[in-house]
Amino acid sequence: ELSRKLDSVFKKIKGQGKLSEDNIKEALRDVRRVLLEADVNFRVAKKFIQAVQEKAVGREVVRSITPGQQVVKIVYDELSRLMGQSAADLHFSNIPPTIFMIVGLQGSGKTTFVGKLAKHLRSKGHTPLMVAVDIYRPAAVKQLQTIGKQLDISVFFEENTNPVDLSKKAISFSRHNGQDCVILDTAGRLHIDRAMMDELVEIKKTVSPNEILFVADGMTGQDAVKAAEEFMQQLDFNGVVLTKMDGDARGGAALSIKAVTGKPIMFFGTGEKFDALEIFHPDRMASRILG
């Protein structure tokens, strides 16, 4: 793994007391390759390597570990630091309902996450209402209604209503029916689809969500930053959910998204069942990216 790879690089540099710019350069080239193969964005990886280089150069070589292990430790610490200190908490409204708005690209796992979030909130003593705001995808409403039946959690939907009005009606429905959390399941959309992005801005303006969560597929490659940046620009979302992390994708998208948006990764989706939701662990993510 990474530290063994770096050790072979450092074997060529014998008896040096300090980590110098030269002996680190080649090691960092290897680290950069590891990050890129893990799907970390090209520019994010470049900035990251520069930051590690600054931290590593001039450091005394610690006697008990090899220079390779030392560089890995610096990389690992910098990665964990970047990923965020610990899981961020959800923000609840003082006056119910707390409104969650779930957004992201097509197929990223939003609808499934809505079910997971609803189940999670109920286990914390809340009364969630899921709202089927995707009026476009064939059987999307049916999908959420089916999930509602499976979980025994209410789903709000009204025919012949646009997503903005639907969201508004769902909130007044929750006030009359005692649900203290409203979760809006929006349609997947491209960040470059002007009209669809405007729709999200409109929903946000109309109902003022307490939490907007950007749901991204954990196996996304270099493109992760483009969508994240645009959703950030348009919606200033509060947090990120990374799905399908039960696969073997290294998940470099996590670092890329965190680096360009600064927003915390709140949850991991780790399966198709509705209990497959994990709180984000920055250090676990760092080890995964480094392979």
Binding site: D39, L105, Q143, T146, D217, Q222, D223, A249
Partner: protein, 282 residues
């Protein structure tokens, strides 16, 4: 890649960034850059525009390597019914692609049947039902939780009875790392093969253009479970370039057959390597 620049390390780094950010992958990108460096010194190249066309040609060649000539025409076949199975990880666009593909066939005068063999995910068969209506195809479905292989088997029976030309089987999204789900897929494949010799005649792996290097793992594992005959690359109407297919073409020899460029029934196009590579440098 600006005009009137000399070919130097900065330019090569710029090209490396274009390649890597297109998800072409580190190994393939480095190999392409290395070949480029050699050509530049060997032929004393000084025109940056020439560089770009050299890379284009090399990438196109890598891709064409994956398209073997006898898989040339997807729409010419003699088997009846012609069986197409669609597989891939979760959310890549399998069901939507089937709707589009079915429509291509029905517009070409073929009788199409789709099989709702995703019996797991909420409203999966309802979703396929709508695509069946949109594309003018018949649908075979069973209750949620039914055995996917049983649905596929039923579809073949129904197709024989109705003189169907094409059967397209929708399977549940599944991560290639899930041993039991891959075994389930193998079973569906086996049931089809035992029922009709040579079936499924096509097995398409649907890849999301936003996927990163994990695509290689997906191709690896799905290839072990089934005999992949083609790839469909979806969501190319987004900003992702889908460069992963370049390395995959070279390594696995599986041709990219179609690209998905939207969510409507007409948003499916035959794959064109030249256009695909041009888009990387757009």
């Amino acid at each position: 890649v600006a005009l009137h620049r000399k070919i130097d390390d900065d330019l090569l780094e710029e090209i490396e960034e274009i390649l890597i950010t297109s998800d072409i992958g580190v190994d393939t990108s480095l190999a392409v850059i290395e070949n480029l460096r050699r050509r530049v010194s060997r032929d004393h190249l000084s025109d940056p525009a020439k560089l770009k066309s050299l890379i284009r040609d090399e990438l196109k060649m890598l891709l064409d390597g994956g398209q073997n000539p006898d898989s040339a025409d997807f729409f010419s076949f003699s088997q009846k019914p012609y069986i197409i199975m669609v597989v891939g990880v979760n959310g890549t666009g399998k069901t939507t692609t089937i709707g589009k593909l079915a429509s291509l066939f029905t517009r070409g005068g073929k009788k199409v049947m789709v099989a709702a063999a995703d019996t797991f995910r909420a409203a999966a068969s309802e979703q396929l039902e709508i695509w069946a209506q949109r594309s003018g195809s018949q649908i075979v479905q069973q209750q949620s939780g039914a055995d996917p292989a049983a649905v596929a088997y039923d579809a073949l029976d129904a197709a024989a009875a109705r003189g169907t030309d094409v059967v397209i089987i929708d399977t549940a999204g599944r991560l290639h790392t899930k041993v039991n789900l891959m075994a389930e897929l193998e079973k569906v494949n086996r049931v089809l093969a035992n029922k009709i010799e040579g079936a499924p005649h096509e097995t398409l792996l649907v890849l999301d253009a936003t996927v990163g290097q994990n695509a290689k793992r997906q191709v690896e594992e799905f290839s072990k479970a089934v005999d992949l005959t083609g790839i469909v690359l979806t969501k190319l109407d987004g900003t992702a370039k889908g460069g992963v297919v370049i390395g995959i073409a070279g390594e696995f020899n599986i041709p990219v057959r179609f690209i998905g460029i939207g969510e409507q029934v007409d948003d499916l196009e035959p794959f064109n390597a030249g256009a695909f590579v041009d888009a990387i440098f757009a």
